[in-house]
Subunit: 910 residues, 2 copies
């Protein structure tokens, strides 16, 4: 954790792999001298270890070049004030770790420059709410005591330091007890990382920063160090161990997350992710409860549901038209009794209420997230931070360089005449224009279209599979009885497998496509990648569900004029209970399957396998490191063996797709929140474990919000309103029942509803060759029934849509309009009613400002007094006494600042 | 414009009215001494003028108290560093102007404190776009040359100073040539205003700031000075005169606005208003053009419109059922030919396209405003400013004081036991809680409900007027022919007058209600006032229009079972051409009338009258001021006689209501943008004139955006989508025509459409007593027709809604869903496609940041060198040579910052 002097902390580590080269006379051994210079003392063993092991041999030019670039870069780092230490390259090849320490001067300079807010001496009490809220909070506090993680920060949350951007001219403001610990580890490594990103290396094509060097394989890795080991027993506590014990174990799944500690250790970006995940999970609790209640309501009312009773009634059974041509027979509706009853579980009025609730829930969740974000921003002193300057990505720079090269080749003749300023101007202009990017964009557009088309065609393929298999199975008498179950189950499983496979492929494709686009900064890269990946994965996960919800069974035609595809296969119909049941099955299998498989295989299994694989590889490889070293490995060795951190995108993406399952089709599957909740309780700890134990420590990134994910979430929320409106209006039988009950029913009940929804068909009008062969139906059939609103055969215009059809359609559409606008209005209202900034936080911020005004004015006043005094003194120069200087340090207990600043200004004015 | 020493600028003026008091021994004449102290020299005429005029007399205690408060306040101001000057109170009563000057120290301190961004020495060129865009811009620039106001700032817009918040420790950064003019007048007065707001006065119940003092009548007015006179001919140019000549005259109506100058003179808030108004006006140009084209399309196709031709066809005329009971006769549809033809002007497919266009237009406008706001924010250095600290409103403080008083009276016994800290804590807690505000909220809620109910009942009253008058006029044969015209015209005018009157009343009521609420800060006050006023005025202006659009003619019933209100008055129907025509008339009259009358009477007439009135009053009052003074009045006298500035709310409100007219019902009145455009061209200059010539100079307020108005605008934009969807679907005949054309028509044309929309009625089924008396219809009537889709008398279920009715209704509702979601989707797309920050601006901001990094590091280096040199000197005191300092700047060409930092670290490590 420290340099060899056991004093200077290692703030960052650069790792590279070297192959030994011969001693070049021109270069000396700058590696050693570097270590010496930065250590401020002679290196430990430059004479002892180095000469013995030198192995002369031919080195390839690339390796040499890399070494020189590294040397230049490290030199530049030292020029920027950093202190470096590295071990000797004592073996023929191996890994070298360049340890970087940032001394106080550098930290102070950069902190001022990055406007890092640090606590000042001034503390103030956080205002508590009114007395009722206070007591309520106390009770809540006590009740939730066992749920709180035992983390020190949590104990003293009544006071907050006034923060102010660090400034070397206002050092008096801050409470600097120990310069080594004033900035915490995450901040220190952030500062070093900032310098690493900024430092140029002229040899490497003038590239900017460590990222380019890593991209060019000059360094292998760059990472800050973990705070220690998480599983060494009984030793002194470090933050990592604390996190592991109180957060990153399944055993503590019921506890709140120690968000402040997470933020302190991993930085704001990761802190926000876990805060978001926590809020989302806790928001799932009420919706799960209500979802279960809705489901139980369905179970409880199943016996009272008139339509399903009517369907199950064997006495007055309806004779239905055959489900397939020729080989299928007429059938009794009562045989579909089971589906009808199951359907009622999800297709009841409570679902409508539930889906309105869920739409508002989504809005509430987003609003509360905004509030939590503000609250965290306040406590983490993120208010008013500006966006950090973004450096170009290495790939972008390479591309620009290539372009410049090409253009300079082209215009070499023209340039001869131009003046220097113009050339400069041109240099300035060099960035990728729309023209340069056009091929990339085109490729992107085409690929995305292709991918979406691929998804659709797979969905269509599964449909074809279902139609043909159903037809084939129907031919065989033995299998006929459970055709529907078999076909549906296999088809859904195929869908699930395809989704899982494509999910991985699309993730890779999205990355590749974004690389083709060559976005300028890391941030745009991330945003575009997210958008593309989201689009592809969304389409992938939801298109089979959309098909079932809105298209299945709508293009069947009617008896006598069915719609045929592929030479005589009839389009598939929904089960007699309605498509909602099938939608529900589809949803639950895809959602559960996706979560279980992705969690178990991709998130637990694959890393385990990788670890195993690496272990095996390590064992087979010749052990080159000295045994003493491997027995007590340094922290940088340990961290080097961990996986590098690759961003939060996959974690967010998984949750967002899940959020889609929870909101989009909640009208058809009220249990979705329950399953999501169960998954997330595990997910939080799974992710936590990954971050604490399996990944290198990520760079602490300062950010105010979760960025584009919020927009995606709110987009899904809005989309879910219209989807749910359509599910209720079109897919479910809710509206037809309402219409029947209030317009057609004789006694205001649903008695006769099933009869009302079935149209008549005159079997004599069945097309030749499609009649059931060998009909074994118990009675003579003259009319068979089918589910649709059409005129009966004896009407003047038989089989046309009846007036009921249009009336029900109007009602369905009116419902969509009312539902959509009502829910949207309520969402806006909720959005407007809940202030984005919690009142107490905005009060605190105002209070902080006014406190700061006082603080500032007081310091100002002190300063003025101090500057005035010498002025007076110099006026009355003859009467100078020792009183002045003695008086000046006297009040310094409170006003050091003024004195130091004023002496500074005196100094320059002299 | 200056103090009497002709040197120090007057930055602010406080005015108060005094009545002479006797000489009190305890007080001396602090007024004089104030003037002396602040001037730094003896007052001009304390001995000369004062003693002669003193008039002894009894003074009331209030006047005395006020004087003392003023003295304390002025004393506090001087303690804060301001310099004051005032004339002697030489007469028995009169106005005194306290002139305030802010010296450099105060300006610098406050500028640092307020983080006012000022230009640094560093300038940089604003990057231009690519070459094509450049030439295009050049051409555009040349073309628009005559449209540009001739204002100096506009000439040099290629360079921009790097700005940085003012800091006294970094004075070297700024280009301070003249300390008197470094801060411009608006900034100076802003700084003084800030101090005025902050300064307390312990005598006046410890109130904070000038606003409380003005509210308590201790001062009468506080205002910064105008830059000079705007109409003095031939003198040197000042900004006010420039503004007048290039902006605030009708003669320059065709020119762009000099936004930068407006901002410089009036501050950012007013600058943003005019920028917004300008953008809105220029956005009205394309929509006007397209609106006119749509209208012309209607005119051009009027001859080809089959339905209106069919209606006008006298040969095959339809016999319509009577329009009123008993006294009305059957009539031929061809007699309504005129209305039908007029209807077509607005009810044609082009309107649908136009209303989609206008929905997108609204989104585009808002997006472009966001961009313009960002652009202005960049050029005006508003990026990254924090919200200013808000002080409590005087009313709020009074209320809190009252509450505290009451509570302290109550808890006087309890307090005896409590310690000091708790009392302090209680003091801290004292703010208005929800309980205190509850009556106010209740009052608000009740009043708003009452106002809305009032509006609705007035609308209903007008409906009743229409119904009864129409019935009365129908009785009389002479008036029968133009009943509809008379009734509609008078009703609309009544509506208009009511709207205008209620508008004024509601404005006052909203203000009153907001005062009752006692919001804490000026900003919340403004926001709540705006919301309330907007709600009331919106309902007021639009409720008659909503009635005509969506309710009129929908509750008529059918022949044989009409709906009756008030003892036998039939509900009113729409004209045979559809309600759209009437909606159009209603809209145009209300919009035009509102604009013309409000502009002419309220904005031009009333101020003129006020002026005239004041002039008359001045003339009748005894002239007390000495004549020399009135001949050459000082600027503060002149400004004092102007109207005080009362905020931008009415200006914004007028425009927002107009925006509603332009977007909400644009489907029925495509000419609305044209009229809005004509109005706004005048409005811009009218407002400009008001600000330049008729108002006291407003305090320059720094703000980044237009605040709540943007939310209201985008709310109206969203609301307009659904309103237009409904207007097209429900009010216009667009959907029935489409349905007829594609489902019922035999040849795919609209031939027979009119017949299709008319149902049959068997006249024998008319209720007893409602048949036409003395029918003079030329032929025997067995069936009369009425406009509705109902089953004919010979059907099994006569007069029920027919299948067509439901089919058309389905189509209408489907259209609403499709239109709404399509347009919303397009809006989101437009919103997403157009980046909120213009690319060039975001590039500039990034560039500015990186420039600033360089600049900062360079300055850093310089500073370090300065501090290092003495240190080195003292170190190597014996071996001192010129080599060290000379070598240090040598490698600075490439790595200035690095070297300085490393040398810094050396320095400290030693």
């Amino acid at each position: 954790m420290h340099f060899h002097d056991n004093h200077r902390k290692v703030d960052y580590v650069l790792a590279y792999h070297y192959r030994k080269r011969g001693a070049h006379p021109g270069h000396g051994s700058p590696g050693h001298s570097l270590a010496i210079v930065s250590n401020g003392e002679t290196g430990k063993d430059p004479q002892a270890g180095a000469p013995g092991d030198i192995e002369l041999g031919p080195l390839d030019a690339l390796e040499e070049e890399r070494k020189e670039q590294r040397e230049e870069f490290e030199h530049n780092l030292m020029e920027a004030g950093l202190e470096l230490e590295k071990d000797l390259e004592s073996k023929s090849q191996g890994s070298v770790f360049v340890r970087i320490h940032a001394p106080w001067q550098v930290l102070a300079r950069e902190a001022e420059f990055l406007k890092i807010k640090v606590p000042t001496k001034k503390m103030y009490e956080i205002k508590s709410q009114g007395s009722i809220a206070k007591t309520f909070n106390k009770i809540l506090h006590k009740l939730s005591e066992p749920l709180k993680p035992r983390v020190p920060e949590h104990s003293n949350s009544r006071m907050k330091n006034l923060s102010y951007p660090f400034s070397r001219e206002k050092m008096y403001l801050y409470d600097i007890r120990d310069k080594d610990t004033f900035f915490d580890n995450a901040t220190r490594s952030r500062i070093v990382h900032e310098i690493l990103k900024r430092t140029t290396c002229s040899r490497a094509n003038n590239t900017m920063g460590i990222n380019s060097l890593i991209a060019n394989n000059i360094y292998e890795a760059a990472y800050p160090l973990h705070d220690g080991e998480y599983d060494r027993p009984g030793e002194d506590m470090n933050d990592r161990k604390l996190l592991y014990q109180e957060w990153a174990r399944y055993g503590v799944f019921y506890k709140f997350q120690p968000i402040d500690l997470i933020r302190k250790y991993f930085g704001e970006k990761i802190g926000l992710y876990f805060a978001w995940l926590g809020l989302y999970t806790s928001f799932l609790i009420p919706s799960s409860v209500i979802g279960i209640i809705v489901f139980l309501y369905g179970c409880a009312t199943i016996e009272e549901d008139i339509p399903s009773k009517e369907m199950c009634d064997r006495q007055n059974a309806f004779t239905m038209c055959p489900l397939c041509d020729t080989s299928c027979d007429y059938w009794n509706l009562s045989s579909a009794c089971g589906t009808a009853r199951a359907s009622h579980l999800f297709d009841n009025p409570a679902t409508v209420v539930f889906s309105i609730f869920m739409a508002l829930w989504a809005t509430m969740f987003l609003e509360n997230w905004k509030r939590l974000q503000m609250r965290l921003g306040y406590f983490w002193d993120l208010t008013g931070i500006e966006e950090e300057e973004e450096h170009s990505r290495p790939e972008y720079e390479t591309k620009v360089r290539e372009k410049m090269l090409k253009e300079s080749n082209k215009s070499v003749v023209q340039k001869l005449g131009t003046s220097g300023t113009e050339a400069e101007d041109e240099d300035d202009e060099d960035k990728l224009t729309w023209k340069d990017r056009f091929p990339g964009y085109l490729m992107n557009f085409a690929s995305i279209l292709f991918m979406i088309a691929l998804t659709f065609s797979i969905v269509f393929g599964v449909i074809v599979y279902r139609i043909t298999t159903a037809a084939a199975l129907s031919l065989n008498k033995a299998t006929r009885s459970n055709v529907r179950v078999t076909v549906t189950a296999t088809a859904v499983i195929i869908n699930l497998v395809v989704i899982l496979i494509l999910d991985e492929i699309y993730g890779a494709v999205a990355k590749w496509l974004t690389k083709i686009e060559v976005p300028k900064t890391e941030q745009t890269f991330e945003e575009r990648l997210i958008l593309k990946a989201f689009l592809l994965k969304f389409v992938n996960a939801y298109s089979p569900i959309f098909y079932v919800a809105f298209f299945k069974g709508r293009f069947v035609g009617r008896p006598g004029s069915y719609v045929y595809v592929f030479d005589g296969y009839r389009m598939e119909e929904c089960a007699p209970g309605g498509c909602l049941m099938e939608l529900c099955i589809q949803l639950s299998i895809i959602m559960l399957g996706k979560q279980l498989i992705q969690n178990n295989i991709f998130e637990i299994g694959v890393p385990k396998l990788k670890k195993l694989f690496r272990k095996l590889k390590d064992e087979t490889e010749p052990e080159e490191a000295d045994s003493a070293h491997s027995k007590h490995p340094e922290q940088w060795d340990l961290d080097y063996s961990l996986e590098p951190y690759t961003g939060l995108t996959p974690e967010y993406m998984e949750m967002i797709i899940q959020f889609g399952f929870v909101t989009l089709f909640v009208a058809s599957f009220p249990l979705a929140p329950v399953f999501a909740l169960l998954n997330n309780v595990i997910e939080v700890r799974l992710d936590a474990k990954k971050f604490v134990t399996e990944l290198r420590r990520p760079d602490a990134v300062r950010t105010k919000d979760i960025g584009i994910w919020f927009d995606i979430l709110s987009g899904i929320g809005k989309f879910s309103v219209i989807i749910n409106a359509f599910v209720i209006a079109i897919t479910s039988d809710f509206i037809p029942r309402l219409v029947y009950q209030y317009s057609y029913s004789h006694n205001g009940t649903l008695h006769g509803f099933v009869n009302h929804t079935l149209s008549f068909f005159n079997v004599s009008q069945l097309k030749e060759g499609t009649q059931p062969e060998n009909s074994q139906f118990e009675q003579e059939v003259q009319f068979c029934r089918f589910k649709d609103y059409r005129e009966p055969p004896w009407a003047p215009n038989p089989y046309e849509f009846s007036k009921q059809y249009w009336a029900v359609l109007s009602a369905r559409l009116a419902f969509v309009i009312i539902f959509q606008n009502l829910v949207m209005f309520l969402s806006v209202l909720v959005d407007w009613m809940i202030p984005d900034i919690p009142t107490d936080i905005s009060d605190q911020i105002k209070r902080e400002k006014s406190l700061f005004v006082d603080f500032f004015l007081k310091e100002e006043h002190e300063k003025l007094k101090l500057t005035e005094e010498p002025a007076q003194r110099s006026q009355s120069s003859g009467h100078r006494s020792r009183r002045g200087p003695a008086a000046s340090p006297a009040p310094s207990g409170r006003s050091q600042p003024g004195s130091s600043a004023s002496s500074g200004s005196q100094h320059t004015s002299v």
